[in-house]
């Protein structure tokens, strides 16, 4: 009989020992394994067009327009209907995308390399808040920003990153947790650190002073600048812990706006899926929960790696999302210790006497205790083309952990 404890110890140890470093920026088609001209990647588990959520469809339209394959949404939809576009989850290609998570072949993506185990993961460049492609918006100004990011921002970032020794994501996150970030929804401190690290290099590698200033301001203004490299970093960590025989640790949690899916270390590449939940959120003025799309995005890779909602105690300011008190933030983290295998060696929480964050979701504990992982997330409008409408908290459906446990029992003979 397989030794689950030992397997989990190994999986979580590998997750924690992974040291993701941001090493560059390149076009998706040049670096992402298996990317090809007709392929669009999206967040979450696999989903067909007929079941695809509004924000993902909107991002697909935007991506096809951005790629020059369609002039507008109608043409884009016609292409899809004609079977000219292939879809695959980012996770099938070692990539992760926030919200809709759409990555098209020409898009610039961050390359993050795990220096301990050598594996890489990829994620797009963050557009900032508001009307953005990842939230399903695809208006001309959205596409224009994408183009600027691709043509101006991307190449400069690549040079700036390579000008130094890259950006050590694990160290940056560990510091950010001590500065009030949770590593998912609140990345203010991490994004400023990131800007601070790159700024001198950006100046050095940019010919135009104004361009350098524009880029630095863009990075510094966007409190989520670092979100995508963080997600790719978390992906390299959880990937390092994946495929450990006999391990019950969750290595992927991802949503496509329709389904919530997980993968488990000891169960290979099988997805366990259930309906994506309704986010308990605060809404931007003019929007209500009637406008909200169900839970969406690959950003739950942060919780999978032991930060985000799991490190909420480090980020008391986040509780404004749920009209709670700082005590609620601490209790959320304390609750997550109930369903995780270990406490993180490198990510610690000052408010809890520098206790390591709850790391390595164990499907056994989730099922036994009936306690679900806590996720902090943004909320996209349910219709294509509109964008973000709020932010809040959500949990996965219980059945996916139960199904995974049953599959595990069948595979390993329990």
């Amino acid at each position: 009989m397989v030794d689950i404890e030992q397997a989990n110890a190994k999986a979580v140890e590998r997750m924690m020992e992974a040291r993701p470093v941001l090493v560059g920026v390149a076009k998706a088609i040049e670096v992402i394994p298996g990317m090809h001209p007709n392929l669009l990647l999206h967040a979450g588990p696999p989903v067909t067009w007929d079941r695809m959520a509004g924000p993902v469809k909107g991002a697909v339209f935007g991506a096809l327009i951005f790629e020059g394959k369609a002039k507008n949404a109608e043409e884009a939809e016609a292409l899809v209907q004609a079977g000219k576009v292939e879809f695959a989850p980012c996770h099938h290609h070692d990539a992760v995308g926030p919200m809709a998570g759409v990555i098209s072949p020409s898009m610039m993506v961050y390359i993050v390399e795990n220096k301990t185990h050598g594996n890489r993961a990829y994620s797009g460049l963050n557009e900032g808040r508001g009307k953005v492609l990842r939230m399903g918006a695809y208006s001309p100004e959205v596409i224009a920003k994408m183009q600027w990011m691709n043509e101006v921002l991307g190449p400069v970032l690549d040079s700036a990153i390579k000008e130094g020794d890259g950006v050590d994501i694990r160290t940056l996150l560990a510091k950010a947790l001590h500065m009030g970030d949770d590593g998912h929804n609140r990345l203010d401190a991490a994004s400023l650190q990131y800007t601070n690290i790159l700024a001198p290099n950006i100046v050095r590698v940019t010919k135009e002073k104004n361009t350098a200033a524009e880029i630095i301001r863009f990075l510094g203004d966007n409190a989520l600048s670092i979100l995508n490299p963080v997600m790719a970093g978390c992906k390299t960590m959880t990937l390092a812990g994946h495929n450990v025989e006999g391990s019950t640790i969750v290595t992927v949690m991802a949503r496509n706006g329709t389904d919530f899916g997980i993968r488990v270390s000891g169960l290979g590449d099988q997805w366990f899926t259930g309906p994506a939940g309704h986010v308990k959120a605060l809404y931007f003025p003019g929007f209500t929960d009637k406008d909200a799309n169900p839970d969406i995005g690959d950003s739950t890779i942060t919780e999978t790696a032991g930060i985000g909602g799991f490190a909420m105690a480090a980020a008391p300011a986040i509780v404004t999302f749920i009209s709670g008190t700082p005590k609620d933030a601490i209790n959320t983290t304390l609750d997550m210790y109930e369903i995780t295998f270990a406490e993180h060696k490198y990510f610690t929480i000052p408010q809890l006497d520098f206790r390591g964050t709850p790391t390595g979701i164990d499907i056994r504990k989730v099922v036994e205790k009936g306690m679900l992982p806590r996720v902090n997330t943004g909320v996209a409008h349910k219709d294509p083309g509109i964008g973000q409408v709020g932010a809040g908290v959500v949990t996965p459906p219980m059945n996916i952990f139960e199904d995974a446990l049953v599959a595990f029992a069948e595979k390993y003979g329990f």
């Binding site: 689950i4 601490i330 209790n331 109930e338 056994r364 504990k365 205790k369 306690m371 139960e402």
Partner: protein
């Protein structure tokens, strides 16, 4: 027209006390006429139906489903009331003094690692699982829950005795640990008396009465009513006696139970006899054979038990005799008694007293017929022969006058390699032999030498009946017998009990399988300040808090929402 609205929450578990509170809060909302908040068991559904609160959609609710049903004056009122449920649940949580409630025992133990005790009062079918987990975490368990199967009890107690932990229960209502009451318990002062009880209210009655009599309690250890059954074998009861026998603060031990299975009673009394302290026994409803046996005092009622215990504790009476006997000088195989009596009544009384020690004693003049010796000339197993019986005195003098027959038989018995103890009576006075010890003494010495030469040790014990004014003089007789190596006393009972203890010890099975796997409970885990983790009824945690005891309440829910298949997978994974 009143409106009934129902909500079914599947897999939502709350303890019944909490549900009652919630129900009360719902019922007091404006416009609400009646409310029911209850788990969907058949009995509960009947209850709801009875008060006309079981709409069709609630009829199919399962035992793991929480039924929340409201009858209000209007439909809106009913819907509104239902919408308040979460608020009411959360309100309760936020008013709790405990800032964060762990959701599991493991986490509670991490938060309060000093806790030595876990109180378990969850629904019976989950109780064994929680207890197993507590034992895994090396905690003593107060197991209040009932409806735990006897097989589970046996398994749990096997684990606990291997690990040196106590499982008090299942269905244990009461315990007192150094002045702190667990479950239902009275406020009893600390004192020199320790109680082990397989009866909850029995424990309450005895400890309360001890308190009323001005004394107090070290520990009141509950065992659950089934502990003294033959199947369970008194695991917790025996651990309790052992703990109290080693506890320096406990001077008197009280044992309370309904009459145990006979085999179990024998085992319990045997352990009690070796406790090295006075033990007061009350097997409710059972008439004891004697009031006093060595260190044991048999009480006729709960109050009598309390009174005897307090009396002994106040006297500070030491244990009457050294209750430990040396048996290692005997050779393997030596285990039987042979009593060679001249006095019929003494032989008869010896048989009576030996019932406390030996399962069966053969005799030519037996207490009851089935123990009759088939051939009076040939001893078998434990045997008491009255040589003054008619069959021996035909054509011969009574053995009180003529020692010849007895000496011959003595040497015969001494040659039997299975014989360990030979008992003689020596009756003095007018009419008796002028110097019986003068003849018996050398014979005893010879018999003992004979055994010694064969590599054995022979214990010869003798009762001497007489006075210092008798012609043979008591002291002189005793001296001669002692000089020959005999253990001598003028009390028949004392001699018989001395022999009985030796023989009982010699006839104990050498390797007691369950005893082999037992680890003694570490006293240190009981002596410190009581700190506990409570899983189940919140009132138990509140009671502990009221007694100044640190306690963590676990926000416990049934594993895997009560799903049997998932529970069984999880349990297999833990092995």
């Amino acid at each position: 027209m009143a409106s009934i609205k129902v909500e079914i929450r599947s897999g939502a578990y709350y303890d019944s006390a909490f549900l009652m509170q919630l129900q009360r809060s719902l019922a007091t909302l404006p416009g609400v006429q009646d409310a029911g908040v209850i788990m969907g068991t058949e009995a509960n559904k009947e209850l709801l139906a009875h008060i006309d609160l079981l709409p069709a959609e609630a009829e199919s609710a399962k035992p793991d489903d929480l039924i929340i049903v409201v009858r209000a004056e209007t439909e809106t009122g009913a819907i509104e009331a239902l919408s308040k449920v979460d608020e009411l649940i959360n309100r309760r949580k936020s008013t709790s003094s405990q800032e964060h409630r762990p959701q599991s025992l493991e986490t509670a133990v991490q938060e309060l690692p000093e806790a030595e005790w876990v109180l378990v009062s969850v629904a019976g079918r989950y109780a064994a699982g929680v207890t197993r987990q507590a034992l895994r975490l090396n905690k003593h368990v107060f197991l209040f829950s009932d409806n735990v199967s006897v097989d589970e009890e046996i398994e749990l107690k096997q684990i606990s005795s291997e690990k040196g932990l106590l499982v008090m229960g299942p269905d244990c209502g009461t315990a007192i640990i150094r002045g702190v009451g667990l479950g239902f318990a009275n406020k009893v002062r600390l004192g020199p008396i320790g109680v082990v009880a397989a009866a909850g209210t029995g424990l309450q009655q005895v400890t309360s009465h001890i308190h009323q009599l001005g004394s107090g309690i070290t520990y009141g250890i509950g065992t659950g009513g089934r502990d003294l059954s033959e199947k369970v074998g008194a695991v917790t009861f025996l651990q309790g006696i052992d703990v109290l026998s080693r506890d320096p603060e406990t001077r008197v031990i009280v044992l309370v139970s309904k009459p145990p299975a006979p085999k179990v009673a024998e085992k319990v009394l045997e352990v009690a006899r070796r406790a090295g302290k006075p033990v007061v026994v009350n097997f409710i409803g059972r008439t004891p054979a004697a009031r006093q046996v060595d260190n044991l005092t048999f009480a006729g009622s709960l109050d009598d038990a309390a009174e005897q215990a307090v009396k002994i504790a106040n006297q500070g009476t030491p244990v009457a005799e050294e209750s430990k006997v040396k048996i290692d000088r005997f050779a393997p195989g030596q285990r039987y008694l042979r009593g060679l009596f001249s006095g019929g009544t003494l032989a008869y009384e010896a048989q009576f007293i030996l019932q406390d020690y030996l399962p069966r004693v053969f005799a030519n003049a037996p207490l009851n017929k089935e123990n009759r010796l088939p051939n009076s000339l040939v001893s078998q197993e434990h045997t008491i022969v009255d040589l003054g019986e008619d069959e021996f005195t035909v054509g011969r003098l009574h053995p009180m006058m003529d020692n010849e027959l007895r000496i011959r038989r003595l040497l015969e018995e001494a040659a039997d390699p299975q014989v360990a103890v030979i008992m003689l009576d020596v009756v003095l006075g007018y009419g008796s032999h002028p110097d019986p010890a003068g003849e018996l003494g050398p014979a005893i010495a010879k018999a003992r030498k004979l055994a010694e030469a064969a590599g054995r040790y022979l214990e010869v014990v003798a009762v001497v009946t007489g006075t210092d004014e008798d012609p043979q003089t008591l002291d002189h007789q005793i001296e001669q017998l002692k000089a020959a190596g005999a253990w001598v006393h003028p009390s028949n009972e004392t001699v018989v009990r001395y022999a009985g203890r030796i023989l009982q010890a010699l006839n104990q099975p050498k390797e007691q399988p369950e005893a082999a796997a037992t680890t003694p409970v570490a006293l240190a885990t009981l002596q410190g300040t009581l700190i506990a983790i409570n899983v189940g009824l919140e009132s138990f945690a509140e009671n502990l808090t009221a007694q100044g005891t640190p306690v963590i309440q676990v926000d416990w829910r049934p594993p895997a929402g009560g799903n049997e298949r998932l529970m069984s997978i999880l349990e297999k994974m833990k092995k």
